[in-house]
């Protein structure tokens, strides 16, 4: 949530009078604004071409709460915005004013809605609107309204040709901007622009292998194109993950991706995966590796419930290894999640239906830590 105050820019629209110095009949018009400084901002209440419109002050009531300290400019612009809204005026001057209102508060969705109504009612040049919204998003990339507005303009133009490059530019400034990724996924899906996206993702992961948004995009592209059913694809992705893990063992994203990709089909389904991960245990260990091993053992137990060729001894051993990992994680390797790992251990034990002589009470004695 953007909490910073809205800065007023110095490039404010001005209202310049014609030079009527020697026009005697115009003498009555010569007043305070005659010797006008072209860079001086004029309030709407002082602009002649707005004199027909009665400004509408905000109706906060007699005992307002959560009062905002509006600048004079803000009040003036919005008093006139409310007037336009009340009359549902569809004019160029209304359109121009929406830009000022937006600059003062780009989160005012009522103004944005009105601007869109005007864009259509006045048949405004949508290419120019694209240039406008491009500039606004560059200034305020974490605002909901600006991205939604861009999406509407792209839809009206039915032209996504600038989008991937534009979004890439925004992502180059903040590679995890949620709105940017949302817009990107919409464009790709709507206009079927899948072809180069995996390459784009791989470049981002080269820059920062810990970029979880990029890992998500990887999953997005593959699941909507080749899918994860093809064993060749799965093997390719496993190799990709393991190679990233070797470079950065404590990167949770890579481990989550590995698990997330496999979980529907079962982690024990790719043959030899457990062994490949066990190989990493000594040199590239992490809480994530251990959790992955636990998940493999749990998966094996669940699947072995159906298989008759898995002996009771084998199941007991798998359970023992799983519980050993839970205990290791809870007490030593991932203590922030102690409550969770203890629960998982109890739950797995209880569900496995394997009893052991050393069964004790399920819950550790309550202790008040202070």
């Amino acid at each position: 949530l953007a909490m910073s105050g809205v800065e007023e820019t110095s490039n404010e629209p001005v209202n310049v009078k014609e030079d009527k110095e020697f026009d005697v009949e115009a003498e009555e018009h010569i007043g305070d604004d005659y010797f006008v400084d072209p860079t001086r901002y004029l309030f709407y209440r002082d602009r002649k071409e707005w004199a027909d419109l009665e400004p509408v002050p905000q109706d906060d009531g007699p005992n307002p709460v959560v009062k905002i300290a509006y600048s004079e400019k803000f009040s003036d612009v919005y008093d006139y915005f409310r007037a336009l809204l009340k009359n549902d005026e569809r004019s160029e001057r209304a359109f121009a004013l929406t830009a000022e209102a937006i600059e003062l508060n780009a989160a005012n969705y009522t103004v944005w809605h009105y601007r869109r109504v005007l864009l259509q009612a006045l048949s405004k040049d949508l290419r120019e609107e694209m240039r406008y919204i491009t500039a606004i998003i560059e200034e305020q990339p974490k605002n909901y309204q600006v991205w939604h507005h861009r999406r509407m303009v792209v839809e009206w133009l039915n032209d996504p040709s600038e989008e991937l490059e534009f979004i890439a530019d925004i992502l180059s400034q903040d590679a995890k901007n949620y709105h940017a990724w949302q817009h990107r996924q919409w464009v790709i899906q709507e206009y079927k622009l899948w072809d180069n996206e995996l390459e784009f993702v791989e470049n981002l992961l080269e820059d920062d292998v810990r970029n979880n948004s990029a890992w998500n995009q990887r999953h997005f592209v593959i699941s909507h194109t080749t899918g994860f059913s093809d064993p060749a694809i799965v093997e390719r992705e496993i190799q990709y993950c393991l190679s990233q893990i070797k470079k950065a063992p404590h990167n949770e994203s890579a481990w989550n991706y590995l698990k997330g990709m496999l979980q529907d089909r079962g982690l024990s389904s790719p043959p030899g995966l457990l062994e490949r991960v066990l190989e990493l245990k000594d040199t590239h260990c992490s809480p994530y590796l251990l959790a992955f091993l636990f998940d493999c053992y749990e998966d094996a137990l669940e699947n072995s419930n159906q298989k008759e060729n898995v002996g009771e001894e084998e199941r007991k051993e798998t359970l023992r290894k799983a519980l050993e990992i839970c205990e290791l994680l809870a007490q030593e390797k991932d203590t922030i999640r102690k409550e969770y790992w203890l629960y998982l251990g109890r739950s797995l034990k209880s569900k496995s239906g394997i009893s052991s002589p050393s069964d004790e009470s399920p819950e550790p004695s309550p202790e008040e830590r202070d």
């Binding site: 949530l1 909490m3 910073s4 105050g5 809205v6 905000q58 109706d59 009531g61 005992n63 307002p64 709460v65 959560v66 009062k67 905002i68 300290a69 600048s71 919005y78 809204l85 009359n87 549902d88 569809r90 508060n105 780009a106 989160a107 969705y109 009522t110 809605h113 009105y114 869109r116 109504v117 005007l118 259509q120 909901y144 939604h148 995890k176 949302q182 996924q185 810990r210 970029n211 979880n212 948004s213 998500n216 999953h219 997005f220 949770e252 989550n256 997330g260 990709m261 979980q263 922030i336 999640r337 102690k338 409550e339 969770y340 629960y343 109890r346 739950s347 209880s350 819950e363 309550p366």
Partner: protein, 419 residues
């Protein structure tokens, strides 16, 4: 180890006075010390001057960028006060009611400010704020028939909701709609047809939920989706195990607070959005017959979260924040306190176990993990509105929430598409 105390009185006075602060210009960016005086109102008897010295930065008086979020300011402030167990003076409560009445749209729902279009987020905030106040006056502000009209006007055929007419879709909208509909007793199954499946499609490969299907799992959206499903009674349809793994993994092992997404930074507000999921999941798993759930603790490190909030997220002059170095704001004050409450209180009325870090004065009131207002206020509101009949509105979802020229720009346009 010294444990920071929540400076309760200073914090609450600061918050309360911000309701009443006279206009301060928003130009100045320099720090200055300003005396903020509680403004006596004619109908408030026995007003005592309450002079608080606060450091005035640009965020003291809410910024212009919040001009379309004023019901949020009401909610953030009122909820913070109720967690701090600071009573709301009757005059303030009444003034908030009258202000929110002016934020209510003639076509239903609440807007970010008087004269603006209705939007699901300020609608959620306004209804919550009114329920915190909990007086007849407050409840009577809500036009339930029009509110239902508004919800229909933003409902989409695929089960999702746009945030406002002509606006964007994401899972926040389902939560806002479900929250207000359930509290005010205007909920019908038809209103949320397909919504469950749409929310479920937001659970991704990470186990958490995204804002729209396909995106990265994110704490705020995960909370909204999960809480909405709890309201609809469909939380069991999530992959609860995967969700549980995802959310517990969001607690930072060094900081103790929560991150919003994997591999991102800690932020105090996720103390609620993320940690608040654990009570919801605990209850969901319990209903599924899980026998091994703890009877004392949530499945996150409650003490570590309290330490993060108390030691790292307090502004010494009052208010709370994202992380050290950031400035305070009402949003973070609300959600840091809400998260602190979650971390302090396990269970419900029948089974309650507290873990209070530091002095007893640090204890906050419990909060309801679905609505994030105090549980008594939820019960009171639900009880009040259940006595009223569900409005009878025969509606179809809006075919497209667009910005058509034939729509009057001056109204949010309750699109009534009866096919």
């Amino acid at each position: 180890m010294m444990h920071g105390n929540v400076h309760k009185i200073a914090a609450s006075r600061c918050i309360e006075n911000w309701f009443r602060i006279e206009s301060l210009t928003s130009e100045s960016e320099s720090n200055r010390i300003v005396r903020c005086q509680e403004i006596p109102t004619p109908h408030k008897n026995g007003t005592k001057d309450c002079i608080v010295y606060i450091i005035n930065t640009i965020t003291c008086s809410p910024a212009q960028c919040l001009d379309a979020s004023r019901p949020w300011l009401c909610f953030w402030i009122l909820h913070s006060l109720e967690l701090l167990e600071e009573p709301i003076p009757a005059a303030v409560a009444s003034d908030v009611c009258q202000f929110l009445a002016r934020c209510q749209s003639p076509t239903g729902g609440f807007a970010g400010g008087p004269g603006q279009h209705a939007h699901l987020a300020p609608t959620y905030a306004a209804v919550n704020a009114l329920c915190i106040i909990g007086t007849e006056e407050a409840y009577n502000i809500i036009d339930r028939e029009k509110l239902l009209d508004f919800l229909w006007s933003v409902k989409q055929p695929d089960g999702s909701f746009v945030m406002h007419v002509g606006g964007e879709v994401d899972v926040r909208s389902a939560y806002c709609a479900a929250s207000v509909a359930s509290l005010t007793n205007i909920l019908t199954p038809k209103l949320f047809e397909n919504t469950t499946n749409w929310i479920l499609s937001c659970q991704n490969w990470e186990g958490g939920l995204s804002g729209v299907p396909g995106l990265e799992a994110h704490g705020g959206y995960t909370f909204c989706g999960t809480a909405a499903l709890v309201i609809l009674g469909k939380e069991h349809m999530l992959d609860l195990k995967a969700l549980l793994r995802w959310v517990v993994s969001r607690q930072m092992r060094f900081e103790g607070g929560f991150q919003g997404r994997c591999n991102k930074l800690v932020d105090g507000c996720y103390s609620f959005w993320q940690a608040g999921l654990l009570p919801l999941l605990h209850r969901a798993l319990f209903k599924e017959g899980e026998s091994e759930l703890s009877r004392q603790r949530w499945m996150f490190e409650q003490q570590a979260l309290q330490e993060y909030i108390l030691l790292c997220c307090q502004n010494p002059t009052g208010g709370l924040l994202d992380k050290p170095g950031k400035s305070r704001d009402f949003y973070h004050t609300c959600y840091c306190l809400s998260g602190l409450s979650i971390a302090q209180h396990f269970g419900n009325v029948d089974l309650h176990h507290e873990i209070i870090l530091g002095r007893e004065e640090n204890r906050l009131a419990p909060t309801h993990p679905v609505y994030n207002i105090c549980p008594e206020k939820v019960a009171q509101a639900v009880q009040h509105f259940l006595r009223l009949p569900v409005p009878d509105v025969n509606k179809q979802p809006a075919a497209s929430a667009g910005d058509r020229p034939e729509d009057s720009a001056s109204t949010s346009g309750s699109a009534d598409h009866q096919s």
